[in-house]
C-alpha cells in the first residue's frame, strides 16, 4: 500500500475509526447510512429482467444465472473470436485492419527487429521510449534512433522525457481476436503512460499470445495475476480517436495516433 504525507487522514482505516475525513466529512456515518438505505431498499424484491429465461442456465428463482455459469462458458451470442488459433489470427488481423491499426506478422524476432527498423525510418522517429521486457529488448536493436527507458530502477519517472518521445515500444499481456484489442498492464508493459502518451505505440508480441475472446482475456488476468493485480490493465482497440466534431472520425485525439502491432511466429 503506497503512502504519502498528504494521505495520512485518508488511509483505508478511515472508515473504521471515528476520525473525520476530508473537510470534516463523517465518512463512517455516511457509509453506515448509505448501506442501511441499500439494505432497507432491497427488502422488496424486484422481478428478474425480461427474457431472464433465455440466458443459459437462468432459473426462475431469480438468483443470478451468471453466477452459476462457469467463467469459460462459450457465449455464442457475442461476436466470433475464432474456434482455432488460425481462425482467431485471421479475425484479429481483419479487426486490426478495420480499426486502422498497422499490423505485421513476422516469422521471428530478427524479422521483428527489421520491421521495427523500417517503421521507425519511414516515420522519421527521433526517440523511442521502451521498458524492460525480453521481447522488447530483443527488437530494440532495430531502432535506428535514440531510445529512452522509462523503468530504470532507482530513477524517478520522467514525464517530460516520455512526452518528447515519438513512439512507445511495449510488450502486451495478450491480443483479443474477437474485438481486435490488445491488453496491456502497468506491471508488465512499462507502466501507465508509455502506451498512451507518445504519438505512436508499437506492440511486440508472440502469436501464442492471441486469445479468442474478451472473456478469455479477462480470465487470463485472474490467473496470471492472482493475488496481486496490476494497478492498471487496459484493452487498447485501435489508435485513439474521436467523433466529437460533427461525428467525423479523427484519429489521434489524445492517445497515440498510430498503433503498430508486430506479431512474431
Amino acid at each position: 500500500m503506497s503512502a504519502s504525507k498528504n494521505a495520512q487522514t485518508n488511509t483505508p482505516t478511515n472508515t473504521k475509526t471515528n476520525a473525520l475525513g476530508p473537510g470534516g466529512h463523517d465518512n463512517a456515518a455516511a457509509r453506515r447510512d448509505i448501506l442501511a438505505r441499500i439494505s432497507e431498499a432491497l427488502r422488496l424484491p424486484a422481478p428478474p429482467p425480461h427474457g431472464g429465461g433465455h440466458a443459459a442456465g437462468a432459473d426462475a428463482g431469480g438468483r443470478s444465472a451468471l453466477a452459476i455459469l462457469p467463467v469459460e462458458a462459450a457465449r455464442p451470442f457475442l461476436p466470433d473470436g475464432g474456434d482455432s488459433p488460425d481462425a482467431s489470427l485471421a479475425i484479429l488481423a481483419a479487426n486490426l485492419e478495420k480499426l486502422r491499426a498497422v499490423f505485421f506478422r513476422v516469422p521471428d524476432l530478427s524479422a521483428a527487429a527489421d520491421c521495427l527498423f523500417a517503421q521507425a525510418r519511414e516515420r522519421d522517429w527521433q526517440r523511442v521510449a521502451w521498458h524492460a521486457h525480453p521481447l522488447v529488448e530483443s527488437v530494440l536493436a532495430g531502432v535506428p534512433c535514440s531510445t529512452h527507458r522509462v523503468d530504470v530502477p532507482g530513477e524517478a519517472f520522467d514525464k517530460d522525457a516520455l512526452e518528447a518521445c515519438d513512439a512507445g515500444l511495449t510488450a502486451c499481456e495478450c491480443l483479443v481476436a474477437q474485438t481486435g484489442s490488445i491488453l496491456v498492464s502497468s506491471e508488465t508493459c512499462g507502466g501507465r503512460a508509455l502506451s498512451i502518451l507518445p504519438h505512436a505505440h508499437v506492440v511486440i508480441a508472440m502469436a501464442e499470445q492471441v486469445v479468442p475472446t474478451l472473456a478469455d482475456a479477462l480470465a487470463s488476468i485472474r490467473s496470471e495475476h492472482d493475488g496481486q493485480l496490476p494497478s492498471m490493465l487496459s484493452f487498447i482497440t485501435g489508435p485513439s480517436r474521436t467523433g466529437d466534431i460533427e461525428r467525423i472520425l479523427v484519429l489521434g485525439a489524445h492517445g497515440p495516433k498510430e498503433l503498430i502491432v508486430i506479431l512474431v511466429g
Partner: protein, 479 residues
C-alpha cells in the same frame, strides 16, 4: 433550445423555487428548438451514421437479443444484491490501496473533493468525462474555490469553452458546427481558423498535453465497479481518461453506487455492448481497469487513488422495485440516439444533467416528481428507447409509471375532472353516442372558435370534417 442562458435550470444547482418553472422553461425551450429546423437537421445528420454503424456491429453478434438478456441479468444481479456487492467491491478496492469516500448527496461529494484538493495542495486539476461530476456541479464548485479545471475530453473541452453543459452524455458537443469550434479555439487559444476536424482535434491535443504533465490531480468517472476484484472500469475513445489517471500525482474517481457488477467476466458482455449501443463501435479504444494507486515495482502512476461513491437519491430509486431497473443504466446513450423527442428538442431543453429517455425516468426521482414529471410527460411513449437499451430497461413504461405516480400524488385538478367526466360518459353507451353526435355537429364551430386543448392541435394541424354518421349508426342502418 440551442444554448442555456444564465439562470437556466440546466446550470442551476438548487431545485427550482417555482415548482412549475422547470416545466414552463421546458415548453419554451422545446418551442424554440423545434423552430430551428437547421439545428434539428444538423443533429439528425450527426446521428445518421450511428444507425448504420450500430446495425453493422449488431450483425456481428451471434444473437443480439440474447446478449441483451445476458447484460440485463448481469446488472440485475449486481443491483439486487448491492448490499453484498458494494461492500465487497469496497473491501477489495481498499485492500489494494484505494481510499473510498461515501457521499450521501451532491453537497457531501463536493465537500470531500474540495478537501482532498486542499490536503493535496493541488494547483491544477485535469478531468476526463464524468456525468456524475456534472450531476454534482463539480466544476463550478472547484472554480469557485480557485482551482483551474480543464476538461480533457474534446467534446467536454469545447462545451467548457462555450460555458455550456454537455448536450448528450456520450457526444457532448454534437450540436456544434466546426466553424463554431474554430472560432472558439481562435478566441480562447489564439489559434488560426480552420475548417478541418483533424486540425481542430490536433489543436486540442497539443493544448492538452502540457496540462496532463503539469496537473497534480486527475478526476475521472467510472463506468463499472467490479466487486470480485475491486477494480473500476473506465470506457473511452480518446485516451484522455488514461492520461488523466496516469500522469497526475493523485487520481480521484467519482461514481454512483449503482455502477457495480459482480464479476470481472461480466465485462466480457457489457464492454462491447456499451460500445455497440452507444456509439456503433465494436469496442471503444480504451477500456481500462484500475485497482488502486501505483504499486511497488511499477514505474509510474498516481501515488494516491480516491473513489467518491455517490448516493444522491439512488437509494430512493432502489427502494422502488418497479423502477429499480433504471439503475441498471450503463449510460451508453442509445436511448437518446433513437428518441424522436431528443432529436427534435435537443439536449439542453431537458434542463437537467441527464437528458433523453433515461434522464426523463430518473430525474423526477433525483430532483422531485412534482417539479420534473413533465419530462416523463414529454413523450409519445413510442418505445424506441426500450428497444434500443442494451440492458433491457423498460424505459418507456417507467415514463408511464412516473405519470401514474404523479397523478396519484399531485394530480392536475382540471385534467382529473376531465378524465372522470369522460369515464362517466363512457360507461353509458347512449350518453356516449349522444356526446359523439354533439361533438360531430359542433366540430365546425369548435374549429372556428379554437378552445383549448383543440387550439393546440389546430395551430399546426387540420382536423378532418366530421362524418355524417357514426360507425354505430351506419352499422345499425346496414343491418
Amino acid at each position: 433550445m440551442i444554448a442555456p442562458t444564465p439562470g437556466h435550470p440546466a446550470l442551476a444547482s438548487q431545485a427550482a423555487t417555482d415548482p412549475r418553472l422547470a416545466k414552463k422553461q421546458f415548453l419554451r425551450d422545446a418551442a424554440e428548438s423545434v423552430r430551428d429546423t437547421g439545428h434539428r437537421a444538423f443533429v439528425r445528420k450527426a446521428l445518421g451514421g450511428y444507425y448504420t454503424n450500430r446495425d453493422a456491429q449488431k450483425s456481428r453478434y451471434g444473437d443480439w437479443e440474447q446478449a441483451r438478456d445476458a447484460a440485463s441479468l448481469a446488472k440485475w444481479s449486481a443491483v439486487n444484491h448491492l448490499d453484498e456487492m458494494l461492500p465487497r467491491f469496497v473491501a477489495n478496492f481498499e485492500a489494494q490501496g484505494g481510499v473510498v469516500h461515501w457521499a450521501r448527496n451532491a453537497d457531501e461529494a463536493r465537500t470531500i473533493i474540495l478537501a482532498l484538493l486542499r490536503d493535496a495542495e493541488a494547483r491544477a486539476v485535469i478531468k476526463s468525462k464524468c456525468m456524475t461530476s456534472e450531476e454534482i456541479h463539480l466544476n463550478q464548485a472547484l472554480e469557485a474555490d480557485g482551482y483551474g479545471v480543464v476538461e480533457s475530453d474534446l467534446g467536454e473541452f469545447i462545451q467548457q469553452l462555450r460555458g455550456e453543459p454537455p448536450y448528450h452524455f456520450v457526444f457532448p458537443c454534437m450540436h456544434v458546427r466546426r466553424d463554431e469550434i474554430s472560432d472558439l479555439f481562435e478566441q480562447h487559444l489564439g489559434t488560426a481558423p480552420t475548417d478541418s476536424p483533424e486540425e481542430l482535434t490536433m489543436i486540442a491535443r497539443r493544448h492538452m498535453r502540457r496540462l496532463y504533465v503539469e496537473a497534480d490531480v486527475g478526476v475521472t468517472g467510472a463506468n463499472f465497479l467490479v466487486a470480485e476484484t475491486g477494480q473500476i472500469s473506465i470506457t473511452e475513445n480518446e485516451g484522455n481518461a488514461r492520461l488523466t489517471a496516469a500522469l497526475p500525482r493523485i487520481h480521484i474517481a467519482i461514481s454512483g453506487i449503482e455502477k457495480v457488477v459482480e464479476r470481472l467476466d461480466d465485462l466480457a458482455v457489457l464492454l462491447p455492448m456499451l460500445a455497440t449501443a452507444g456509439a456503433g463501435q465494436q469496442m471503444t479504444c480504451y477500456n481500462t481497469l484500475y485497482a488502486g494507486p501505483k504499486r511497488a515495482g511499477e514505474c509510474d502512476g498516481p501515488e494516491e487513488m480516491h473513489l467518491v461513491l455517490l448516493d444522491n437519491a439512488r437509494t430512493a430509486i432502489l427502494a422502488d422495485p418497479e423502477q429499480r431497473d433504471s439503475l441498471h443504466c450503463i449510460r451508453c446513450g442509445a436511448c437518446l440516439n433513437v428518441c424522436p423527442i431528443f432529436k427534435n428538442v435537443g439536449g439542453f431543453t431537458y434542463g437537467t444533467t441527464y437528458q433523453g429517455p433515461i434522464g426523463s425516468v430518473i430525474t423526477p426521482h433525483l430532483r422531485g416528481l412534482a417539479d420534473w414529471n413533465h419530462l416523463s410527460g414529454a413523450s409519445s411513449l413510442c418505445g424506441a428507447c426500450t428497444d434500443a437499451c442494451p440492458v433491457r430497461i423498460d424505459i418507456h413504461t417507467h415514463l408511464l409509471h412516473n405519470r401514474r405516480n404523479a397523478a396519484r400524488t399531485s394530480p392536475g385538478r382540471l385534467e382529473k375532472l376531465g378524465h372522470r367526466f369522460f369515464g362517466l360518459v363512457a360507461r353509458r353507451p347512449w350518453l356516449f353516442a349522444l356526446g359523439g353526435w354533439l361533438f360531430r355537429r359542433t366540430l365546425p364551430l369548435a374549429k372556428a372558435l379554437r378552445p383549448p386543448p383543440l387550439s393546440a392541435w389546430l395551430a399546426t394541424r387540420d382536423l378532418p370534417p366530421a362524418p355524417q354518421e357514426s360507425f354505430r349508426a351506419a352499422w345499425k342502418r346496414r343491418r
